[in-house]
């Protein structure tokens, strides 16, 4: 957690006054246990108004669990959670009106027409309109913004995967939320649809100062979308910073790649020469395909994912945290 900048930067600061914006999500010591299995083990995180935050981690790291706790869909085991100033386990309907949740649509509302569904969802927010936050967003304006003009009268099930995702985002934004949750937003999209989707999220949140918390297991997506990346693994946030900050934090390390008996190994170290000498001392000529280079964020993250999947999540988390410190 040492990489948190002293002063919040980027979108988290009012450009005119330099004053940090309001905190919209504050989580301290969040724990979640399913029986004997501890999924979250002391998660701390903060999101400020207007920030786009990516919760990055391997599959099964607890990203979805975290986001569902924040959405108020799941009871936590312990810890302090505040979303828009309230504990999500004790909230009312007005609180929900300030949230946008982008769900992975599948085949719900398949026989409804696109415009009709968006308009219907929007009407739920009409009772919560204020002068600062007129609600809902005009249906046609929103359809235009997400590029579904030509499909407004189609039935939802006739949309392509990319078009459905746009509709999902439109549904998440129609209430002009202060905080938007996106869980694995571009899963199942082709590269072109993915890029368009990322642009859409950026444009959509800019004008309303909406904070976004998204989960992804894809570093590329996190780098492209987020102002700040939180790496979740082993039940904790092991790194917190912009992509540039994470790269800088890794800068001192070199990466040693080698194989022994056909098994590929990766290790990051500040003393590559000593490490290689030790390697030869231990394995001798069995060391093959040796390569020493500067570690990239991707290398380190891929190593983390690999070890997570091999059941070595906790020590991988410790090492990642040490490296990005």
């Amino acid at each position: 957690m040492d990489t948190i900048p002293e002063q919040p930067a980027g979108r988290a600061v009012d450009p005119a006054s330099g004053v940090p914006k309001d905190t919209v999500v504050a989580v301290e010591g969040l724990r979640m246990e399913y029986g004997a299995v501890r999924v979250l083990d002391g998660v701390d995180l903060t999101v400020r108004a207007g920030e786009i935050i990516a919760l990055l981690g391997p599959n099964g790291a607890g990203k979805t669990t975290t986001i569902e706790i924040l959405e108020g869909f799941r009871h936590r085991s312990a810890g302090r959670v505040e979303v828009l100033g309230r504990d999500p386990e004790h909230v009312g309907e007005a609180w929900r009106a300030d949230l946008g949740v982008v769900l992975q649509s599948w085949r719900d509302h398949g026989v409804w027409r696109v415009r009709e569904l968006l308009h219907h969802i929007g009407r739920h927010y009409a009772a919560y309109a204020t002068p600062e936050r007129p609600r809902p967003v005009d249906t046609d304006v929103l359809i235009d913004r997400v590029g579904l003009n030509g499909n407004a009268q189609k039935r939802v099930k006739q949309l392509s995967g990319g078009q459905r995702r746009r509709l999902d985002v439109a549904i998440g934004l129609v209430g002009r939320p202060r905080l938007l949750f996106l869980d694995e937003p571009s899963a199942g999209l082709d590269p072109q649809a993915r890029r368009e989707f990322h642009d859409l999220v950026h444009d959509a949140v800019d004008e309303n100062d909406t904070a976004v918390l998204l989960t992804t297991h894809d570093l590329d997506e996190a780098e492209r979308l987020a102002d700040r990346i939180l790496v979740l693994t082993g039940g904790r946030i092991v790194a917190d910073g912009s992509a540039e900050e994470l790269v800088l934090a890794l800068g001192g390390d070199s990466e040693v790649v080698w194989s022994v008996d056909g098994r590929r190994n990766v290790h990051s170290t500040r003393e590559p020469a000593r490490f290689v000498a030790d390697l030869y001392a231990e394995h001798g000529d069995a060391v093959a395909d040796l390569r020493v280079g500067r570690a990239t964020l991707e290398d380190v993250y891929m190593d983390l994912v690999r070890r997570h999947e091999a059941g070595d999540a906790r020590s991988a988390a410790d090492e990642f945290e040490r490296k990005t410190r």
Binding site: A94, Q104, H124, A127
Partner: protein
């Protein structure tokens, strides 16, 4: 703008849209027209004369068709809707909206009401026009038919809601509901009198709502002399009202509790798991 009133209004429009959109889907439309055609077709063409008395039973049979239309929409359709909309994320979407569950519930109730009215109405109109011996017994008969159908739906809807909430797999829900439905119809003498069953089966039937819906529909549309086929030799309408009301009251006390427990468990990861399961079923 009052948020609760707004949610009710939004729910009403959801019910209308769901009804119109579904009813204009070819598969659904076929379902609406298929059963009336079957029941009325059979009643109008086959010989339903009673073996010993020689009395024409086609009126009794087609009255069973009316009951069938009512029970399939209020029990089967509802259980299926809940099962499907849980699995496909419709319910979760409602949960994510302010007062979304209220709007959703209002919408489902209205959709069900319209579906029920349409499918019961279709069988009824066809039977009244085409089946001899099935005629509304004056204004009193029409009134009886109206309150029996309304009360019957109120007694059966909570059962459908509970059945739809029990399992996470809509296919299991469908199978389970079919079993319950068939058992109910069997012991309730919907299409034929149950006098050939042992007495205890008849007694079980008389504790269940469907039997009394049948009694009410027959009382409304069959000639008075047909009451001789009933277990007691008469159409016991006060008992019908009593039993149906008890089922409705108990149902509306239990069902919201079951529905709330079920809805509380819904989350994105559950819907994702359901999706993966459905993908493996490959359709």
């Amino acid at each position: 703008m009052n948020p609760v009133m707004q949610a009710v209004r939004v729910g009403a429009s959801r019910g209308r849209t769901d009804f119109v959109r579904l009813s204009t889907t070819p598969g659904e439309l076929f379902g609406y027209l298929f059963y009336p055609a079957v029941f009325v077709g059979l009643a109008a063409t086959l010989n339903f004369d009673h073996n010993t008395t020689g009395v024409d039973g086609s009126g009794y049979f087609v009255a069973g068709g009316v009951v069938f239309a009512l029970v399939t929409t209020s029990l089967l359709t509802l259980a299926q809707l809940i099962g499907t909309e849980r699995e496909d994320g419709t319910l979760l979407r409602a949960k994510a909206l302010p007062h979304g569950m209220l709007a959703y519930t209002v919408g489902k109730a209205l959709q069900l009401l319209m579906t029920c009215t349409l499918s019961v109405g279709l069988v009824l109109v066809a039977a009244l026009l085409l089946v001899d011996g099935f005629t509304l017994q004056g204004w009193g008969g029409a009134l009886t038919l109206a309150w029996v159908c309304a009360l019957g739906a109120l007694a059966l809807i909570p059962l459908g809601a509970i059945l739809g909430s029990l399992t996470t797999n809509p296919r299991v829900t469908l199978a389970l509901t079919m079993v319950v439905l068939l058992a109910l119809m069997m012991v309730s003498g919907v299409f034929f009198p149950t006098d050939f069953f042992p007495a205890w089966v008849g007694a079980i039937g008389m504790a269940l709502p469907l039997y009394w819906v049948g009694v009410g529909v027959r009382a409304a549309a069959l000639p008075g002399s047909d009451a001789a086929f009933e277990a007691s030799g008469a159409w016991d309408l006060p008992q019908a009202a009593g039993v149906l009301m008890v089922w409705a009251v108990v149902g509306f006390l239990v069902a919201p509790w079951v529905l709330r427990a079920m809805a509380r468990r819904e989350s994105g990861s559950r819907v994702d798991r359901a999706r993966e399961r459905a993908m493996k079923r490959a359709y």
